[in-house]
């Protein structure tokens, strides 16, 4: 079985992100694999462990953006491809989906492509669905449980109302939610292997395509308005006295 996990490199979720001097800055926070994409790699590795085959990681980013890829390789992925090209800067989601779909086709004979639910930088959460649409494959998004049998896949999707159980034939795109289960830590051997791994870079011409035209633009990025609050500390002689004062304060805000 040929399995792909699509991943992205992002600033750590604990980073303080600000817009300054005309650019987005995350200080000295590390760049890491998008936390959601760890589930994508985990699901890919589990599918391989059950059914055999290979796990290829695909990431789109700058030519030095290899931290996320190294992490996925250290977790146990067999190989990785970095898609990098100056013409890919500032692409919108539908363009990225077209590039990823082309790369998945170039890898060839892929049975399953896993994605995290969204990237914690752009927060769009549409790449799995859009890539599936370009490929013409079913998109089984927000899966909490995944099982593959023969040529078919069954997932339990996490939806507002609970769970929806859906099956489809392969090839398919699957995106994962946290309920899938904790992703494994990289092993010591894995980290050594990842450090030595050669990661090929594919440009757009390697993919045989022009940069897809972006239709979305971002005229302005802003820091959110600062929250001008002075915290009023509620004190009292007893928990009951504190509670009673707090209740009146909250009711005076007219939010209940």
């Amino acid at each position: 079985m040929k399995i792909v996990a699509c991943i992205k490199q992002v600033p750590d979720s604990a980073a303080k992100v600000v817009f300054e001097d005309g650019r987005v800055s995350w200080g000295d926070a590390p760049l890491v694999i998008n936390p959601w994409d760890e589930y994508s790699v985990e699901a890919a590795l589990q599918a391989k462990e059950t059914h055999g085959g290979t796990v290829t990681v695909i990431s789109l980013g700058g030519e030095n953006d290899k931290e996320a890829i190294k992490h996925a390789l250290a977790m146990g992925a067999d190989d990785a491809i970095l898609i990098s090209d100056p013409a890919l800067r500032g692409l919108d989601t539908q363009s990225i989906a077209r590039v990823l779909a082309t790369a998945i086709q170039k890898v060839g004979e892929v049975d399953l492509a896993f994605f995290g639910r969204q990237a914690i930088d752009s927060d769009s959460g549409v790449t799995a669905s859009q890539t599936a649409r370009v490929l013409g494959w079913p998109a089984l998004t927000l899966a909490a449980v995944v099982s593959v049998e023969g040529n078919s896949i069954n997932v339990e999707r996490s939806i507002e109302e609970g769970r929806q159980s859906v099956s489809a034939n392969l090839p398919a795109v699957v995106s994962l939610v946290k309920d899938f289960g904790e992703p494994r830590y990289p092993s010591f051997m894995g980290i050594r292997k990842a450090a030595r791994a050669e990661v090929p870079t594919w440009s757009l011409s390697d993919l045989g395509m022009e940069a897809p035209a972006s239709v979305i633009s971002w005229p302005e990025v802003m820091n959110p308005p600062s929250r001008e609050v002075v915290c009023e500390m509620i004190t009292g002689d007893s928990p009951e006295a504190i509670a009673s004062t707090l209740v009146e304060k909250i009711l005076s805000e007219k939010v209940i």
Binding site: D92, D123, P138, I159, A168, P224, C231, E253, V255
Partner: protein, 340 residues
């Protein structure tokens, strides 16, 4: 501007943010509500009452079980014929993926989880949070239709106008069944209760809820089990207050990762981003990743034993103290005051 709104429902149960989206669409001119499904004609009445001028109905047994592919095809085919200028959807599980797929079909852009929207010339310019709200970005789309999903509770729900009606335009679904690539095997219900995304009030618990020194866990539990047992007792206090207030129950990542409460309750950058009128944080110190998910709440109340906890920096009211005493007292005080 010719605008469409996708009414998101599962088997006829509409998610309320659909009506908020309808209100937004109306503010730009006439709005048509899109209702897809099987035996869903009744939903048209609600759509008219919430302001729709027209309903585009596709009622077909093939749409009885929701799947993104046929629903997106349905939307794309209608849009190819009718050329709306903007299509609004609520940012729900289904809204997001239908929007994503239709954007591919229609060779246009999708702008997701929008919290503000402006018309500049004949173009929509939207504002949406990125980095879980640590930054905001403006976005605009150079092609039509602009496909926009709207964050729940970011826009007001229109006041219903009882008895208002309009015309229902029925279309048939031109779809080869072979194009439907997946099959629904069944559903299981969630825990129920108030959904975090739609909640006006959220009561949350963090790691601090497991620290009640006055509890003695059953002797047969090992250390980890005892910690979770303590935490569950602590969360019961959170749940009690939530039920008095008709609130949803939230949690920090630390509490979820420690196994105290299921992930569905997690608020933060890797959980749900929420914006209720009232957020009561109990035993939550205020990690950046948690505050990114709730900092736009209207009124934040924090109860924590550490006076230096960062959560107090964004809170309107704070209590430094023992939440195991204060929380039950607060629940009782609300019960009395609200006459429950």
């Amino acid at each position: 501007m010719k605008t469409w709104v996708y009414i998101d429902h599962l088997k006829g149960q509409v998610l309320p943010s659909s009506w908020e989206a309808l209100g937004v669409a109306k503010s730009f001119g006439s709005a048509s509500a899109l209702i897809f499904g099987e035996n869903v004609q009744e939903l048209a009445n609600a759509a008219f009452e919430f302001g729709a001028d027209e309903v585009l109905l596709v009622d077909d047994p093939k749409l009885g079980d929701y799947r993104a592919e046929p629903y997106a095809t349905c939307l794309s085919n209608l849009a190819k014929n009718e050329s709306p200028e903007a299509i609004f959807l609520p940012t729900t599980t289904r809204g997001r993926e239908i929007a994503a797929m239709a954007a591919i079909d229609l060779k246009t852009g999708v702008m997701v989880d929008v919290i503000a929207i402006d018309l500049q010339g004949d173009r929509l310019v939207v504002t949406r949070p990125i980095y879980a709200g640590k930054l905001l970005t403006k976005e605009t789309c150079s092609t039509t239709p602009a496909i926009v999903t709207l964050r729940g509770r970011a826009f007001p729900k229109p006041t219903p106008q009882p008895g208002k009606t309009g015309s229902v335009k029925k279309s048939s679904l031109s779809l080869d069944p072979a194009e439907i690539k997946s099959e629904v095997k069944g559903y299981s219900k969630g825990e129920g209760g108030v959904s975090l995304i739609d909640a006006g009030i959220i009561v949350s618990g963090g790691r601090g809820v497991s620290n009640n020194p006055n509890l003695t866990p059953p002797a047969e539990l090992d250390e980890k089990q005892a910690e979770i047992w303590r935490a569950q007792q602590g969360f019961e206090l959170v749940v009690n207050l939530a039920s008095v207030l008709g609130a949803a129950v939230g949690a920090s990542r630390a509490a979820v990762d420690a196994g105290y409460i299921p992930y569905a309750h997690q608020v933060g950058q890797t959980g749900k981003v929420v914006s209720p009128d009232l957020y009561i944080a109990n035993g939550i110190s205020g990690a950046i990743q948690h505050m990114a998910g709730m900092r736009t709440s209207k009124v934040i109340v924090a109860i924590n034993k550490d006076p230096d906890a960062p959560i107090f920096k964004i809170a309107r009211y704070g209590v430094v103290g023992d939440l195991f005493q204060i929380l039950p007292a607060l629940t009782n005080a609300f019960k009395e005051r609200l006459g429950k």
